[in-house]
């Protein structure tokens, strides 16, 4: 079955512009806001990226992905919230708006500010990571190597006691394996 989703583009656009406004006002009040504020900013970027991908707005997806990565590091405490990062994010909101404006008209956006901001975010993500690069602590070393960085500042206690029903129909482990 082939399903045409283009009728949902107006809803996506409306939601995205609202999300960008929320990002802007929240970034300006980030110091007073705390955890909920940074989470709300992250979710707004996350939704824009997700929806843009569905409609093939690849320029929006690629740019917003970098913004989301930076926000992710800020929200789970791997990166200090600094004014320079906030300024960069505020400029990025303007960039995403330009990208969406172009995408809705079926065009690519060639504003120089897009490339400049994209490069600046990538440089920040690569160069100034607050994550310690060497000398892991004993507790870090005991964790799974590939999960250490993602899990250390977002601690979850997951109690999982398999019951006899674990292999019944709803538990289809191959569905996980397939993705």
């Amino acid at each position: 079955m082939s399903i045409d989703l283009s009728q949902f583009i107006p809803t996506f656009l409306e939601e995205s512009y609202e999300g960008l406004e929320l990002m802007e006002s929240s970034l300006l009040n980030l110091e007073q806001g705390g955890e909920d504020t940074i989470n709300a900013i992250f979710r707004a970027a996350h939704s824009i990226k997700g929806g843009a991908g569905t409609f093939g707005f690849n320029q929006v997806t690629d740019f917003t992905h970098e913004v989301e990565t930076l926000l992710d590091e800020m929200r789970d405490g791997r990166r200090q919230v600094e004014q320079s990062s906030v300024n960069l994010l505020l400029k990025s909101v303007d960039c995403i708006r330009l990208l969406i404006d172009a995408a809705k008209d079926g065009q690519e956006c060639s504003e120089p500010s897009i490339e400049e901001n994209f490069t600046a975010i990538q440089a920040l993500l690569k160069g100034e990571s607050a994550e310690p690069v060497s000398a892991p602590t004993a507790s870090e070393m005991s964790a799974q190597p590939d999960e250490t960085s993602a899990s250390q500042s977002n601690t979850w206690l997951i109690e999982f006691i398999p019951s006899h029903e674990i292999y019944k129909p709803a538990m289809m482990s191959y569905v996980f394996l397939a993705h």
């Binding site: 079955m1 082939s2 399903i3 989703l5 949902f8 809803t11 996506f12 939601e15 989470n39 709300a40 992250f42 979710r43 996350h46 939704s47 990226k49 997700g50 929806g51 991908g53 569905t54 997806t61 590939d146 999960e147 993602a150 899990s151 979850w156 997951i158 999982f160 029903e165 019944k168 129909p169 709803a170 538990m171 289809m172 569905v175 996980f176 397939a178 993705h179």
Partner: protein, 120 residues
Amino acid sequence: MAKILVVDDSASIRNMVAFTLKQASYETVEAVDGKDGLAKAQKEKFDLVITDVNMPVMDGITLCGNLRALPAFRFTPILILTTESSPEIKQRGKAAGATGWLVKPFNPDKLLATIKRVIR
């Protein structure tokens, strides 16, 4: 026909998922976050739950764990539809009782194919 609960804070994604399901003749109920989804699940029985992860109030992983604690949802398939694909978050989803994982961008055909595999 099977009845499906769709949980996502993004109206556009929620509407697209519900539209896709209706095209395939499934009955749908929509919820705007994990808490809303849980409240709806406590009122009626569903054959499948499709949920996002990143949502305000209650996220999709917490919803999944809470649904598994309800007797009516112990064996109900729960599909997680999200842009998140890190092994760490998949592991959390699996531990909370998720049946399967669909990574956005949302693809209607892939969703329907996966549903056919998990609903009997």
